[in-house]
């Protein structure tokens, strides 16, 4: 699993390769901001900014929280203790893996239902 974590680290650096995303991190270094505020600040569409924030979020550099209709962005896991941060990254990794597993098993369940029905017919 360590290798997967390394891959994520590469993702972090890839996230930093873009000037807008570095700008967003700088901005969040001063204060938390909503996606709308960030989009305005960087003269971008909401969709464009969402994509950038998504890249930063997956790299563990930014966390977001939705309250009501506003999604607020905060500088990411670096504030946590190292091990806690590691465990959280590890959890996120498994969480996204399990989300995809959910899809696979849903499909298998549907298939099984169809096959079962065929057999009964």
């Amino acid at each position: 699993m360590v290798q997967y974590m390394r891959a994520r680290l590469d993702a972090s650096f890839a996230a930093l390769s873009d000037a807008t995303r570095r700008g967003v991190l700088e901005q969040l270094g001063h204060s938390d901001a909503s996606i709308t505020e960030l989009a305005e600040k960087f003269h971008m569409t909401l969709t464009g900014m969402k994509k950038h924030v998504g890249v930063l979020e997956r790299a563990g550099l930014v966390t977001t929280e939705k309250v009501g209709r506003v999604r607020t962005c905060t500088l990411g896991a670096r504030r946590l203790e190292e091990e806690t941060a590691w465990l959280e990254r590890y959890r996120q990794l498994w969480d996204s893996r399990f989300d995809e597993l959910d899809e696979v098993v849903e499909e298998l369940k549907r298939k099984e239902n169809v096959d079962g029905r065929k057999k009964r017919e």
Binding site: M1, V2, Q3, Y4, M5, R6, A7, R8, L9, D10, A11, S12, F13, A14, L16, R22, G23, L25, E26, Q27, L28, G29, H30, R58, L61, L75, R78, E82, E83, A85, W86, L87, E88, Y90, R91, L93, W94, D95, S96, R97, F98, D99, E100, L101, D102, E103, V104, V105, E106, L108, K109, E112
Partner: protein, 172 residues
Amino acid sequence: MDARRESEPTATKNRTTVERKSEREVVVTRTINAPARIVFEAFTKPDLFKRWWVPKSFGLSLLSCELDVRVGGTYRLVFSHTGSEPMAFFGRYIEVTPHSRLVWTNEEGGDGGAVTTVTFEEHAGRTLLALHDLYPSKEALDAGIGSTDGMGETFDQLDELVVTLGANSGRS
């Protein structure tokens, strides 16, 4: 600690937990809304396994996936990764109990590799999955967590970089 389930109509999203159980062990748990035999199938059939083991957000793609799921059988996963050499993950299965238990070794990292035990516990048509990674020593797990093998250092550098970015913009 259980997150309250939102009032979603289908409530399919279950909570993933990670816990350092001991000096040598990390455990991940998650409930999957399917019977154990289906979840087991998704773990043991290569064409299914490769569809979920590498989520899109990893930024990796799976070049090959060979799973010989029987005691003593080997597995090998090869990933391509933008800007670097393909990475291989491999090991062998040391326990295979259909629908309830899988144990495999992780040998790509040499001696420090963990032994992974996956248990599938079915309750009312749903399966509680628990993945235990047991490392040969506390040091090996700590190394995995990153305090001694340079990854912690790399994360530190990344953290510093982010702080520097913030500080620089403060001055401008």
